[in-house]
Structure formats: structure tokens, C-alpha cells
């Protein structure tokens, strides 16, 4: 009897390990972040119910308010720039690579190499290359006669964030190129041929055939980029420290959250503010969730069939 029942309901046993793992170590922590944000905390001990007090603190009270909006604007700039680079340069390269000329495979492979590096290595590598006195980058500028451009790229508020964004793009770009290329390869060749036979120019074919068909992949890539850029942490932590030096000019939501949650406990400073940190995490969750849901909706609405 029991055996029969078990064979009939085998799917329950198949599902169980995965559900437990995913439920306990992913869904539960994410869901309780919300709960955590609604309480006062004294170190690691939960205090009285706080309502939306923690959110109010983050959004309206100093010093959190200035830090939060500052970090948010940096994240937005981070995403917008990365998006702009990948959908112009990245997309153009993918379209070009589709032609499969001699040597393109080689270039593809090469562009993707930085993506295999860990963020920690990327951060340290560029930290040394951009070192104001000894770094190879400034020495290179001097070598090619651009000595007047030499500056402490990571040390001044005007250039630090842009430098971080470009270093991130350097590591990242190979990935969207490959994703776009994979998407392009999924578009039937006949459609391009038909457009050419109909007398469309290269640009027209791209604009009216390739682009609409590739839109889902571009959209998906944009959402993924958004999620990753709103999660960015390592690069700034490694290169500029947990407070986004200089003067918080490279501070991101990720570093702000880290500082608030775990304090400077690693360097013997203040302990973390769990309630406020959870409020920051929930706000990030809301931003990421809203953008991805809206993005996916938009894409489904515009889905083109072929």
C-alpha cells in the first residue's frame, strides 16, 4: 500500500530536496528581510516593532538620506552608462561578428576573456595599473605624449566613479556581445535574404528586421544588466573601500548596505544597524523587482512572431 502510494506520488520526493534547499536558504532569508526592516534592532537582537520608521530614517534623515540618494544616483549612472555601451558598441560588434569573416572567432574569444576574471582580480589589477605614481596607465599616457592628461583617476571625485564604471564595462562587455550574437544566430537567415531581395539597404534590414526580432534578447540583457548593476559591490569595495572614496563619490547601494549592515566591525568601528540595513535591502528589492517585472511585461507586449 505505502509503496503504491509512494510510487504514485513520487513527484513529491523528487521535489522535496530542492524545495527545502531553495525555501530555507533563499526564499526565507529574502522574505525575512522584509520582516527585519519593520523592527528596531539592538546589535543582533530584535527590539520593538518599528513600523516604517527604518524606511523613514533611510529616506529622510541624515546621514542616511544623503548617502542613500547619492548611492542610488551612482547606481543609476552605473546602469545607464553600461547599458549605453552594450547596446551601441556591444550590439554593433555582435552584428558584425555574425558575418563570420576570417579572424572574427579570435576577436570574440579575446573580448570575452576579462569576463572570466573575478571582480577581485579586476579591481586589484586596475588599482595597480591606475596607481597615480607608478601605475602603467599614467605612464602609458606620458609615453604617447598625453602627459597633460595624467591624473589620480581614482583619487578625485570628478573621475573616480567614471573610472569604476569603465573598468566594470571593460570586464563586462564580452558577455552582452555573446548574448546578442547567440540571439542573432536564432534569427532565420531567410528573413535577411528576403529583405535584401526586396531592396532593403543594410541599415534598413537592421532597423526593420534584425532589431525587432532581437528586441526580446536586448530587453532580457537590459534587465539582467540592471539587476547586476544594482547589485554591484566588489569593484568599489576593492578599489575605493567600503565607503566609496573619495568623499562617497563612488558609493553604491551595495557598499552602503554593507556598511550599514556590518558596520566597520572588520576594522573595529561601529557595529551594524540591522533594521536600517534591512530597509535599504528592501528598497533595493523593490527597485529591482519593479524594474524587472515592468521590463518583462513590456517585452511580452512587444513580442514579435516569425
Amino acid at each position: 500500500m505505502v509503496r503504491r502510494w509512494m510510487e504514485r506520488h513520487a513527484y513529491i520526493f523528487f521535489l522535496l530536496p530542492g524545495l527545502v534547499l531553495y525555501g530555507v536558504f533563499m526564499v526565507y532569508p529574502l522574505a525575512s528581510s522584509l520582516g527585519y526592516s519593520l523592527f528596531h534592532w539592538d546589535g543582533l537582537i530584535r527590539g520593538p516593532f518599528a513600523g516604517l520608521e527604518n524606511f523613514k530614517t533611510v529616506l529622510t534623515r541624515s546621514p542616511y538620506q544623503a548617502r542613500f540618494w547619492g548611492a542610488l544616483s551612482h547606481n543609476v549612472l552605473f546602469f545607464v552608462t553600461t547599458f549605453a555601451i552594450q547596446t551601441t558598441l556591444g550590439l554593433a560588434l555582435a552584428v558584425l561578428f555574425r558575418k563570420k569573416w576570417r579572424g572574427f572567432g579570435f576577436f570574440q574569444t579575446v573580448y570575452f576573456i576579462p569576463y572570466t576574471l573575478s571582480m577581485v582580480v579586476v579591481g586589484f589589477l586596475w588599482l595597480l595599473l591606475l596607481n597615480p605614481t607608478w601605475g602603467a596607465f599614467n605612464q602609458f599616457l606620458r609615453l604617447i605624449g598625453l602627459g597633460s592628461w595624467v591624473q589620480p583617476w581614482l583619487g578625485q571625485t570628478e573621475t573616480a566613479l567614471w573610472t569604476i564604471i569603465l573598468v566594470n564595462a571593460w570586464r563586462w562587455l564580452g558577455f552582452p556581445i555573446l548574448v546578442f550574437l547567440a540571439g542573432l544566430q536564432g534569427i532565420p537567415e531567410e528573413l535577411h535574404e528576403a529583405a535584401t531581395v526586396d531592396g532593403a539597404t543594410g541599415w534598413q534590414t537592421f532597423r526593420h528586421v534584425t532589431l525587432p526580432l532581437l528586441a526580446p534578447v536586448i530587453g532580457m540583457m537590459t534587465i539582467l544588466t540592471f539587476i547586476w548593476d544594482f547589485n554591484a559591490f566588489e569593484l568599489v569595495f576593492i578599489m575605493q573601500g567600503s565607503s566609496g572614496n573619495p568623499y562617497y563619490s563612488t558609493d553604491l547601494l551595495g557598499t552602503l548596505f554593507y556598511r550599514t549592515a556590518f558596520g566597520d566591525s572588520t576594522t573595529g568601528g561601529e557595529p551594524g544597524q540591522i533594521g536600517i540595513a534591512s530597509a535599504i535591502a528592501v528598497l533595493m528589492l523593490i527597485i529591482i523587482g519593479a524594474v524587472s517585472i515592468l521590463g518583462v511585461r513590456q517585452m511580452q507586449k512587444r513580442q514579435v512572431e516569425y
Binding site: 530542492g18 531553495y22 532569508p29 607608478w134
Partner: protein, 293 residues
């Protein structure tokens, strides 16, 4: 006669500039691609040659080739800076997480892809919802959970976190693979007397091997490179993984640039080699999630 000649001449006149223009275009394209390739690779090339140089040489001649190719800095890093331990830990954690996620996700995906039951669709969406949500945002409760389970400062804290965060994408990809298998295989297995589990393990699982490879690659790369969770969960030096170990190493040897570059090179080499050897599978695996999503 005359008209025909005219036509031929005309064709020659238009074809020639077009060819010439195409040639210039090609040169520009290859030139641009080469320049970009240099931007992507030259910093890495510098990393390699700098690893072999003495500090004095690095500062006096940053772009020249090293005066001698000695493996000494690498041996120093490997032995003195605990890199062998970090390396072993990274292998251990990544491998265990992979085994765990492959087991759990293939079982769950099999249930979702092959069985009809009331909650099937709801559970599928429940798993999928996690694709868009980064587990990092739940790190505070996760931290306290690990503390209460006495798992902080153990490899288990990392393995469980990684495997759980890998579930959504893995279940999504594998369910897709399982759904493509023909029903007849299942029937045949049952007629031959296989139990449900045997049908899964002996017949169906081997057929989704490409899917298992994809899932492995999708997860393997971010786990191997992860810095965030080790930073928060691991205290003991002998348990640290490479990315976290790197930061320790950087603090210790800040003035010895040759060693720092050697350390970075050692840290990057495994994935780099793996990528260069099997770039096709790598690329297919890493893009699978984004394209199929």
C-alpha cells in the same frame, strides 16, 4: 557595338571604386577590432609580464619584457601566502555546491517537467521567481540563520547559499530539457519494471547530460569568483577561498608588486585556461540563461 563597350566601361568604372571602398572598410573594421582587442588584453598581458619582474624593474620599465623569466614569485605566493590552501578551498566549495545544485535541481526539474499534479505550475513559477532576485539582498537573515545553525565560518555556509541561489536558473534550464524528452521512453522504462526513481536516474537523467553541463557552467563561474559571501561568512584564514584570500594577500604584500601580480595571475589562471580550452561550451553555457529567459 559602341553601346556594349560603353556598358562594359561603365560597369568597370562603378565596380572598381566599390571594391576599393570595401577594401578600405575592411581595413578600418579589422583595425578597430584589433584596437579593441588590445584594450581588452593588454592589461592582462601587463599582468603576466609584471608578475616576473622585480619591483625596481616594474617602476623603471613598466612596458618592457622582464629581464629574466623566473618562477620564484609564483612559488613564493603558492607557499608563503597560503595560496595552496585558498585554492583547495575554492575547488572544494565550488565542487560541493555544484553537486548539491545538480542533485536538487535535476530531481525538482524532473518532477516539474514530467509529472502532472495540481501545484505544478505554481511551483514552477515559485522557483522561477528567484531568477530575478539576487540572494544578496537576503544576506542579513541568511547570516543570522547560519549563525543559529552554527554554520558560520564553515564551508557549509557557502555551499548551501550557493546551491540555493543556483536553484532557480538550474530548475528553469533543466525543466526545459526534461520537457523535450519523448513520453515513450518513460513508458518503456516502466514496462521494463523500473521504479519511478530508476526511470529518472537510469533513463531520463543521462539524456539531459547537455543540460547538466550547461547548469554546471552557469553556476560554476560566479561561485568560483564570488567574494561577497566568503567576506561575510568566513573568518578563519585556513577556510578562505581565492577571492577572499587575495585581499589578505594584498594587505600583506602591498609593496611587492611583482608578488601581487603573480598572485592575481595564479588566481585567474584556472578559469582562463578552462575558458580557452572549452570556449564553445563555456559560451553556450553562460549565454543559455540570458537567451532562453
Amino acid at each position: 557595338m559602341a553601346t556594349r563597350l560603353d556598358l562594359a566601361a561603365e560597369r568597370k568604372a562603378t565596380v572598381a571604386p566599390r571594391r576599393w571602398r570595401a577594401a578600405v572598410g575592411k581595413v578600418l573594421i579589422y583595425g578597430g577590432l584589433t584596437l579593441l582587442a588590445l584594450i581588452f588584453v593588454y592589461p592582462l598581458f601587463l599582468m603576466v609580464i609584471t608578475a616576473f619582474k622585480s619591483t625596481r624593474e616594474i617602476f623603471l620599465d613598466p612596458f618592457g619584457l622582464p629581464s629574466r623569466w623566473s618562477l620564484e614569485p609564483f612559488i613564493t605566493v603558492w607557499r608563503r601566502a597560503n595560496f595552496s590552501t585558498y585554492f583547495r578551498n575554492s575547488v572544494l566549495v565550488t565542487a560541493a555546491s555544484t553537486v548539491l545544485v545538480l542533485t536538487c535541481s535535476s530531481l525538482a526539474a524532473y518532477a516539474l517537467g514530467r509529472y502532472r499534479f495540481r501545484l505544478n505550475n505554481a511551483l514552477y513559477i515559485f522557483f522561477l521567481a528567484g531568477i530575478m532576485i539576487p540572494i544578496r539582498l537576503g544576506v542579513l537573515p541568511l547570516f543570522l540563520l547560519m549563525r543559529n545553525l552554527n554554520l558560520l565560518d564553515t564551508h557549509w555556509s557557502l555551499i548551501l547559499t550557493y546551491a540555493a541561489s543556483g536553484m532557480p536558473m538550474s530548475v528553469f534550464l533543466l525543466t526545459g530539457f526534461f520537457r523535450t524528452l519523448p513520453r515513450e521512453l518513460e513508458y518503456a522504462a516502466r514496462i521494463d519494471g523500473c521504479s519511478e526513481f530508476q526511470t529518472f536516474f537510469r533513463v531520463m537523467l543521462p539524456l539531459v547530460r547537455p543540460g547538466l553541463a550547461t547548469v554546471t557552467i552557469v553556476n560554476f563561474v560566479p561561485w568560483w569568483n564570488d567574494f561577497f559571501f566568503p567576506l561575510l561568512f568566513i573568518q578563519s584564514d585556513e577556510l578562505k577561498t581565492i577571492p577572499l584570500g587575495m585581499t589578505i594577500f594584498f594587505g600583506q604584500y602591498m609593496t611587492d608588486w611583482g608578488l601581487l601580480f603573480a598572485g592575481m595571475l595564479i588566481a585567474s589562471l584556472p578559469l582562463l585556461l578552462l575558458y580557452l580550452v572549452m570556449s564553445r561550451q563555456f559560451i553556450e553555457g553562460l549565454t543559455a540563461g540570458a537567451v532562453k529567459g
